[in-house]
Symmetry: C2
Subunit: 159 residues, 2 copies
DNA sequence: TTATTATGGACATAACGGATCTATAATTAA
DNA sequence: TTAATTATAGATCCGTTATGTCCATAATAA
Protein backbone atom coordinates (compact mmCIF):
# COMPACT_ATOMS: atom_id res chain seq x y z
CA UNK A 1 0.00 0.00 0.00
CA UNK A 2 2.61 2.50 -1.01
CA UNK A 3 3.07 4.74 -3.98
CA UNK A 4 5.88 3.53 -6.20
CA UNK A 5 9.10 5.42 -6.63
CA UNK A 6 8.13 6.03 -10.23
CA UNK A 7 5.24 8.14 -9.03
CA UNK A 8 7.64 10.04 -6.84
CA UNK A 9 9.92 10.71 -9.79
CA UNK A 10 7.06 11.66 -12.07
CA UNK A 11 5.75 14.24 -9.63
CA UNK A 12 9.16 15.78 -9.17
CA UNK A 13 9.85 15.81 -12.88
CA UNK A 14 6.62 17.59 -13.66
CA UNK A 15 7.17 20.19 -10.97
CA UNK A 16 10.55 20.79 -12.50
CA UNK A 17 9.03 21.21 -15.94
CA UNK A 18 6.53 23.58 -14.42
CA UNK A 19 9.29 25.79 -13.08
CA UNK A 20 11.11 25.97 -16.40
CA UNK A 21 7.93 26.91 -18.20
CA UNK A 22 9.34 29.77 -20.29
CA UNK A 23 12.38 27.95 -21.63
CA UNK A 24 10.73 25.05 -23.39
CA UNK A 25 12.22 21.63 -23.86
CA UNK A 26 14.06 20.38 -20.83
CA UNK A 27 16.29 17.50 -21.85
CA UNK A 28 16.35 14.18 -20.06
CA UNK A 29 19.91 14.92 -19.06
CA UNK A 30 19.03 18.03 -17.14
CA UNK A 31 15.99 16.40 -15.59
CA UNK A 32 17.95 13.36 -14.56
CA UNK A 33 20.60 15.59 -13.07
CA UNK A 34 18.16 17.68 -11.11
CA UNK A 35 16.30 14.72 -9.68
CA UNK A 36 19.24 12.42 -9.11
CA UNK A 37 17.76 9.56 -11.10
CA UNK A 38 19.38 7.68 -13.95
CA UNK A 39 18.54 8.85 -17.45
CA UNK A 40 17.56 5.34 -18.50
CA UNK A 41 14.94 4.95 -15.86
CA UNK A 42 13.57 8.43 -16.02
CA UNK A 43 13.14 8.05 -19.79
CA UNK A 44 10.69 5.26 -19.24
CA UNK A 45 8.63 7.35 -16.91
CA UNK A 46 8.61 10.38 -19.18
CA UNK A 47 7.62 8.14 -22.04
CA UNK A 48 4.58 6.99 -20.15
CA UNK A 49 3.66 10.55 -19.31
CA UNK A 50 3.89 11.42 -22.98
CA UNK A 51 1.71 8.52 -24.08
CA UNK A 52 -0.97 9.79 -21.75
CA UNK A 53 -0.72 13.32 -22.99
CA UNK A 54 0.72 14.87 -19.86
CA UNK A 55 3.90 16.08 -21.50
CA UNK A 56 5.02 16.74 -25.03
CA UNK A 57 8.39 15.50 -26.27
CA UNK A 58 10.53 16.60 -29.13
CA UNK A 59 13.66 14.71 -30.21
CA UNK A 60 16.66 16.16 -31.96
CA UNK A 61 19.03 18.96 -31.09
CA UNK A 62 17.77 21.11 -28.23
CA UNK A 63 14.85 18.78 -27.86
CA UNK A 64 13.34 17.64 -24.61
CA UNK A 65 10.10 17.74 -22.70
CA UNK A 66 7.53 20.36 -21.86
CA UNK A 67 4.13 20.27 -20.23
CA UNK A 68 1.44 19.40 -22.75
CA UNK A 69 -1.17 21.54 -20.96
CA UNK A 70 -1.17 24.40 -18.46
CA UNK A 71 0.08 23.35 -15.04
CA UNK A 72 -3.30 24.07 -13.47
CA UNK A 73 -4.81 21.35 -15.63
CA UNK A 74 -2.44 18.64 -14.48
CA UNK A 75 -3.72 17.20 -11.25
CA UNK A 76 -1.94 14.86 -8.89
CA UNK A 77 -4.61 12.34 -9.73
CA UNK A 78 -3.77 12.47 -13.42
CA UNK A 79 -0.13 11.77 -12.74
CA UNK A 80 -0.71 9.01 -10.25
CA UNK A 81 -3.17 7.27 -12.51
CA UNK A 82 -0.68 7.23 -15.35
CA UNK A 83 2.03 5.63 -13.26
CA UNK A 84 0.10 3.43 -10.86
CA UNK A 85 -2.56 2.39 -13.31
CA UNK A 86 -6.30 2.82 -13.11
CA UNK A 87 -7.37 -0.29 -11.25
CA UNK A 88 -9.37 0.17 -8.10
CA UNK A 89 -7.54 0.05 -4.79
CA UNK A 90 -9.84 -2.61 -3.45
CA UNK A 91 -10.59 -5.61 -5.62
CA UNK A 92 -12.36 -8.32 -3.71
CA UNK A 93 -11.46 -11.87 -4.58
CA UNK A 94 -13.96 -13.72 -2.40
CA UNK A 95 -16.79 -13.25 -4.85
CA UNK A 96 -17.59 -16.93 -4.89
CA UNK A 97 -17.43 -17.54 -1.15
CA UNK A 98 -20.32 -18.39 1.14
CA UNK A 99 -19.92 -15.08 2.84
CA UNK A 100 -20.23 -13.13 -0.36
CA UNK A 101 -23.60 -14.73 -0.92
CA UNK A 102 -24.70 -13.87 2.60
CA UNK A 103 -23.63 -10.26 2.35
CA UNK A 104 -25.20 -9.70 -1.03
CA UNK A 105 -28.40 -11.71 -0.69
CA UNK A 106 -30.01 -9.06 1.44
CA UNK A 107 -29.81 -6.40 -1.18
CA UNK A 108 -30.96 -8.70 -3.93
CA UNK A 109 -34.04 -9.51 -1.90
CA UNK A 110 -34.67 -5.89 -1.13
CA UNK A 111 -34.46 -4.33 -4.55
CA UNK A 112 -34.74 -6.48 -7.61
CA UNK A 113 -34.05 -3.45 -9.75
CA UNK A 114 -31.04 -3.52 -12.05
CA UNK A 115 -29.50 -0.82 -9.86
CA UNK A 116 -26.57 -2.89 -8.68
CA UNK A 117 -25.35 -1.32 -5.50
CA UNK A 118 -22.46 -3.53 -4.51
CA UNK A 119 -21.86 -5.02 -1.09
CA UNK A 120 -21.30 -3.17 2.15
CA UNK A 121 -17.58 -3.79 2.46
CA UNK A 122 -17.00 -2.79 -1.12
CA UNK A 123 -19.05 0.31 -0.58
CA UNK A 124 -16.94 1.53 2.30
CA UNK A 125 -13.68 0.85 0.53
CA UNK A 126 -14.83 2.47 -2.68
CA UNK A 127 -16.01 5.44 -0.68
CA UNK A 128 -12.57 5.82 0.80
CA UNK A 129 -11.00 5.66 -2.62
CA UNK A 130 -13.35 8.29 -3.96
CA UNK A 131 -12.37 10.64 -1.15
CA UNK A 132 -8.74 10.16 -1.97
CA UNK A 133 -9.28 10.73 -5.67
CA UNK A 134 -11.32 13.83 -5.04
CA UNK A 135 -8.56 15.35 -2.97
CA UNK A 136 -5.87 14.47 -5.46
CA UNK A 137 -7.94 15.87 -8.29
CA UNK A 138 -8.13 19.17 -6.48
CA UNK A 139 -4.39 19.67 -6.31
CA UNK A 140 -2.37 20.41 -9.41
CA UNK A 141 1.18 21.14 -10.41
CA UNK A 142 0.19 24.77 -10.38
CA UNK A 143 -0.72 24.43 -6.70
CA UNK A 144 2.89 23.57 -5.96
CA UNK A 145 4.22 26.33 -8.17
CA UNK A 146 2.00 28.94 -6.54
CA UNK A 147 2.87 27.93 -3.02
CA UNK A 148 6.51 27.83 -3.91
CA UNK A 149 6.43 31.33 -5.35
CA UNK A 150 4.37 32.64 -2.46
CA UNK A 151 6.88 31.45 0.09
CA UNK A 152 9.85 32.94 -1.68
CA UNK A 153 9.55 36.59 -0.63
CA UNK A 154 12.57 37.76 -2.63
CA UNK A 155 11.79 37.46 -6.31
CA UNK A 156 12.45 34.08 -7.90
CA UNK A 157 14.45 35.16 -10.92
CA UNK A 158 17.87 35.83 -9.48
CA UNK A 159 19.52 35.74 -12.90
CA UNK B 1 -1.16 0.95 -5.21
CA UNK B 2 -3.62 -1.74 -4.26
CA UNK B 3 -4.75 -3.21 -1.01
CA UNK B 4 -3.38 -6.71 -0.59
CA UNK B 5 -5.57 -9.78 -0.61
CA UNK B 6 -4.69 -10.27 3.03
CA UNK B 7 -6.51 -7.07 3.85
CA UNK B 8 -9.47 -8.36 1.91
CA UNK B 9 -9.46 -11.58 3.90
CA UNK B 10 -9.00 -9.81 7.21
CA UNK B 11 -11.98 -7.56 6.61
CA UNK B 12 -14.19 -10.47 5.64
CA UNK B 13 -13.02 -12.56 8.56
CA UNK B 14 -13.79 -9.83 11.05
CA UNK B 15 -17.23 -9.20 9.62
CA UNK B 16 -17.85 -12.89 9.97
CA UNK B 17 -16.75 -12.83 13.59
CA UNK B 18 -19.00 -9.86 14.11
CA UNK B 19 -21.98 -11.79 12.87
CA UNK B 20 -21.30 -14.75 15.13
CA UNK B 21 -20.95 -12.51 18.12
CA UNK B 22 -23.07 -14.54 20.54
CA UNK B 23 -21.49 -17.92 19.90
CA UNK B 24 -17.92 -17.18 20.83
CA UNK B 25 -14.88 -18.84 19.37
CA UNK B 26 -15.15 -19.40 15.67
CA UNK B 27 -12.53 -21.94 14.61
CA UNK B 28 -10.15 -21.40 11.75
CA UNK B 29 -11.83 -24.26 9.95
CA UNK B 30 -15.21 -22.61 9.87
CA UNK B 31 -13.71 -19.25 8.96
CA UNK B 32 -11.64 -20.74 6.20
CA UNK B 33 -14.70 -22.52 4.89
CA UNK B 34 -16.87 -19.45 4.90
CA UNK B 35 -14.32 -17.27 3.15
CA UNK B 36 -12.96 -19.84 0.74
CA UNK B 37 -9.35 -19.33 1.80
CA UNK B 38 -6.89 -21.98 2.91
CA UNK B 39 -6.58 -22.53 6.65
CA UNK B 40 -2.82 -22.13 6.51
CA UNK B 41 -2.92 -18.73 5.00
CA UNK B 42 -5.82 -17.43 7.01
CA UNK B 43 -4.06 -18.53 10.20
CA UNK B 44 -1.25 -16.13 9.50
CA UNK B 45 -3.63 -13.28 9.07
CA UNK B 46 -5.59 -14.06 12.20
CA UNK B 47 -2.36 -14.34 14.08
CA UNK B 48 -1.40 -10.85 13.07
CA UNK B 49 -4.78 -9.57 14.10
CA UNK B 50 -4.35 -11.17 17.48
CA UNK B 51 -0.89 -9.70 18.02
CA UNK B 52 -2.39 -6.28 17.45
CA UNK B 53 -5.23 -6.87 19.84
CA UNK B 54 -8.02 -6.93 17.28
CA UNK B 55 -9.14 -10.46 18.06
CA UNK B 56 -8.69 -12.86 20.93
CA UNK B 57 -7.73 -16.48 20.33
CA UNK B 58 -8.15 -19.55 22.45
CA UNK B 59 -6.57 -22.88 21.50
CA UNK B 60 -7.81 -26.29 22.48
CA UNK B 61 -11.09 -28.08 21.94
CA UNK B 62 -13.87 -25.72 20.91
CA UNK B 63 -11.33 -22.97 20.72
CA UNK B 64 -11.17 -20.32 18.03
CA UNK B 65 -11.36 -16.58 17.58
CA UNK B 66 -13.59 -13.79 18.78
CA UNK B 67 -13.47 -10.02 18.56
CA UNK B 68 -11.30 -8.55 21.28
CA UNK B 69 -13.40 -5.40 21.52
CA UNK B 70 -16.89 -4.32 20.53
CA UNK B 71 -17.39 -4.16 16.78
CA UNK B 72 -17.95 -0.41 16.88
CA UNK B 73 -14.42 0.03 18.18
CA UNK B 74 -12.78 -1.80 15.30
CA UNK B 75 -12.37 0.61 12.43
CA UNK B 76 -11.39 -0.19 8.88
CA UNK B 77 -8.29 1.84 9.50
CA UNK B 78 -7.27 -0.37 12.41
CA UNK B 79 -7.53 -3.47 10.30
CA UNK B 80 -5.77 -2.05 7.29
CA UNK B 81 -2.92 -0.75 9.37
CA UNK B 82 -2.35 -4.15 10.91
CA UNK B 83 -2.13 -5.87 7.56
CA UNK B 84 -0.58 -3.25 5.32
CA UNK B 85 1.74 -1.81 7.91
CA UNK B 86 1.98 1.70 9.23
CA UNK B 87 4.40 3.30 6.81
CA UNK B 88 3.26 6.38 4.99
CA UNK B 89 1.88 5.96 1.49
CA UNK B 90 4.29 8.51 0.10
CA UNK B 91 7.94 8.22 1.04
CA UNK B 92 10.11 10.51 -1.02
CA UNK B 93 13.51 9.21 -1.99
CA UNK B 94 14.89 12.29 -3.69
CA UNK B 95 15.84 13.95 -0.43
CA UNK B 96 19.40 14.56 -1.55
CA UNK B 97 18.63 15.87 -5.02
CA UNK B 98 19.13 19.40 -6.27
CA UNK B 99 15.43 19.81 -6.58
CA UNK B 100 14.79 18.89 -2.98
CA UNK B 101 17.08 21.72 -1.95
CA UNK B 102 15.27 24.15 -4.22
CA UNK B 103 11.84 23.18 -2.98
CA UNK B 104 12.78 23.34 0.66
CA UNK B 105 15.10 26.34 0.70
CA UNK B 106 12.21 28.77 0.47
CA UNK B 107 10.63 27.64 3.67
CA UNK B 108 13.92 27.57 5.51
CA UNK B 109 14.51 31.17 4.48
CA UNK B 110 11.01 32.20 5.46
CA UNK B 111 10.71 30.74 8.92
CA UNK B 112 13.78 29.78 10.81
CA UNK B 113 11.59 28.41 13.61
CA UNK B 114 11.89 24.73 14.49
CA UNK B 115 8.40 24.30 13.10
CA UNK B 116 9.40 21.95 10.30
CA UNK B 117 6.64 22.06 7.75
CA UNK B 118 7.84 19.69 5.08
CA UNK B 119 7.91 20.39 1.37
CA UNK B 120 4.98 21.20 -0.89
CA UNK B 121 4.75 17.88 -2.68
CA UNK B 122 4.96 15.97 0.56
CA UNK B 123 2.30 18.22 2.02
CA UNK B 124 -0.21 17.44 -0.69
CA UNK B 125 0.43 13.71 -0.58
CA UNK B 126 0.27 13.58 3.18
CA UNK B 127 -2.93 15.57 3.06
CA UNK B 128 -4.44 13.01 0.75
CA UNK B 129 -3.42 10.22 3.05
CA UNK B 130 -4.91 11.95 6.05
CA UNK B 131 -8.24 12.28 4.24
CA UNK B 132 -8.21 8.59 3.49
CA UNK B 133 -7.34 7.66 7.04
CA UNK B 134 -10.01 9.90 8.45
CA UNK B 135 -12.66 8.24 6.34
CA UNK B 136 -11.50 4.75 7.17
CA UNK B 137 -11.39 5.59 10.84
CA UNK B 138 -15.02 6.60 10.67
CA UNK B 139 -16.23 3.24 9.43
CA UNK B 140 -16.20 0.21 11.66
CA UNK B 141 -17.19 -3.42 11.57
CA UNK B 142 -20.36 -2.38 13.33
CA UNK B 143 -21.16 -0.11 10.38
CA UNK B 144 -21.29 -3.17 8.16
CA UNK B 145 -23.29 -5.17 10.66
CA UNK B 146 -25.85 -2.40 11.09
CA UNK B 147 -26.33 -1.85 7.38
CA UNK B 148 -26.59 -5.55 6.82
CA UNK B 149 -29.27 -5.92 9.46
CA UNK B 150 -31.13 -2.87 8.22
CA UNK B 151 -31.36 -4.23 4.71
CA UNK B 152 -32.59 -7.61 5.77
CA UNK B 153 -36.25 -6.85 6.41
CA UNK B 154 -37.15 -10.37 7.50
CA UNK B 155 -35.38 -11.09 10.76
CA UNK B 156 -31.86 -12.45 10.51
CA UNK B 157 -32.07 -15.37 12.89
CA UNK B 158 -33.82 -17.99 10.83
CA UNK B 159 -32.83 -20.72 13.20
C1' DT C 1 23.65 15.26 -43.68
C1' DT C 2 24.89 14.93 -39.00
C1' DA C 3 24.73 15.44 -34.30
C1' DT C 4 21.42 15.12 -30.88
C1' DT C 5 17.70 13.44 -28.43
C1' DA C 6 13.72 10.62 -27.41
C1' DT C 7 11.66 5.77 -27.85
C1' DG C 8 10.99 0.98 -27.29
C1' DG C 9 12.34 -3.54 -26.36
C1' DA C 10 15.18 -6.85 -24.13
C1' DC C 11 17.23 -8.04 -19.98
C1' DA C 12 18.68 -8.43 -15.06
C1' DT C 13 17.83 -8.29 -10.28
C1' DA C 14 15.66 -7.62 -6.00
C1' DA C 15 11.67 -7.29 -3.29
C1' DC C 16 7.12 -8.56 -2.18
C1' DG C 17 2.78 -11.01 -2.11
C1' DG C 18 0.51 -15.19 -1.85
C1' DA C 19 0.46 -19.59 -0.36
C1' DT C 20 1.68 -24.26 1.73
C1' DC C 21 3.65 -27.40 5.16
C1' DT C 22 5.28 -28.85 9.52
C1' DA C 23 6.63 -28.93 14.19
C1' DT C 24 5.36 -26.96 18.56
C1' DA C 25 2.69 -24.97 22.26
C1' DA C 26 -1.50 -24.30 24.68
C1' DT C 27 -5.90 -25.57 26.19
C1' DT C 28 -9.99 -28.14 27.20
C1' DA C 29 -12.85 -32.33 27.37
C1' DA C 30 -12.68 -36.82 28.98
C1' DT D 1 -3.51 -37.11 33.67
C1' DT D 2 -4.23 -38.07 28.98
C1' DA D 3 -5.66 -37.30 24.48
C1' DA D 4 -7.71 -34.75 21.05
C1' DT D 5 -8.04 -30.30 19.33
C1' DT D 6 -6.69 -25.89 17.94
C1' DA D 7 -3.79 -21.89 17.44
C1' DT D 8 1.27 -20.29 16.58
C1' DA D 9 5.49 -19.60 14.50
C1' DG D 10 9.03 -20.63 11.29
C1' DA D 11 10.80 -22.36 6.98
C1' DT D 12 10.17 -22.45 2.36
C1' DC D 13 8.37 -22.03 -2.42
C1' DC D 14 6.71 -19.68 -6.40
C1' DG D 15 5.06 -16.01 -9.35
C1' DT D 16 4.59 -11.25 -10.06
C1' DT D 17 5.85 -6.62 -9.73
C1' DA D 18 9.14 -2.85 -8.99
C1' DT D 19 13.34 -1.04 -10.02
C1' DG D 20 16.91 -0.38 -12.96
C1' DT D 21 20.35 -0.86 -17.07
C1' DC D 22 21.68 -1.32 -21.90
C1' DC D 23 21.28 -0.97 -26.74
C1' DA D 24 19.41 -0.41 -31.28
C1' DT D 25 16.28 2.59 -33.72
C1' DA D 26 13.57 6.55 -35.05
C1' DA D 27 12.82 11.34 -35.30
C1' DT D 28 14.21 16.01 -35.52
C1' DA D 29 16.55 20.44 -35.85
C1' DA D 30 20.67 22.80 -37.19
S1 LIG E 1 -16.29 -7.41 -0.61
FE1 LIG E 1 -18.49 -7.68 -0.85
S2 LIG E 1 -18.74 -8.09 -3.06
FE2 LIG E 1 -16.57 -8.44 -2.56
S3 LIG E 1 -16.46 -10.64 -2.08
FE3 LIG E 1 -16.75 -9.57 -0.14
S4 LIG E 1 -18.97 -9.63 0.18
FE4 LIG E 1 -18.65 -10.09 -2.00
S1 LIG F 1 8.90 15.33 -1.93
FE1 LIG F 1 9.64 17.24 -1.05
S2 LIG F 1 10.83 16.60 0.75
FE2 LIG F 1 10.60 14.79 -0.56
S3 LIG F 1 12.43 14.81 -1.89
FE3 LIG F 1 10.80 15.86 -2.99
S4 LIG F 1 11.15 18.01 -2.54
FE4 LIG F 1 12.28 16.86 -0.98
Amino acid sequence: MQFSKSTDYALHALVHLGHSERRHNVGIKQLSGALGVSESYLSKIMSKLRQDGIVRAVPGVNGGYELARPAEQISFLDIIEVIEGRQRMFECSNSSSQQHLLLTEAEIAEQESPKREGCLIEKVMDGAEQHLRQYLKGHTIQTILDESRKRCTHDTNKK
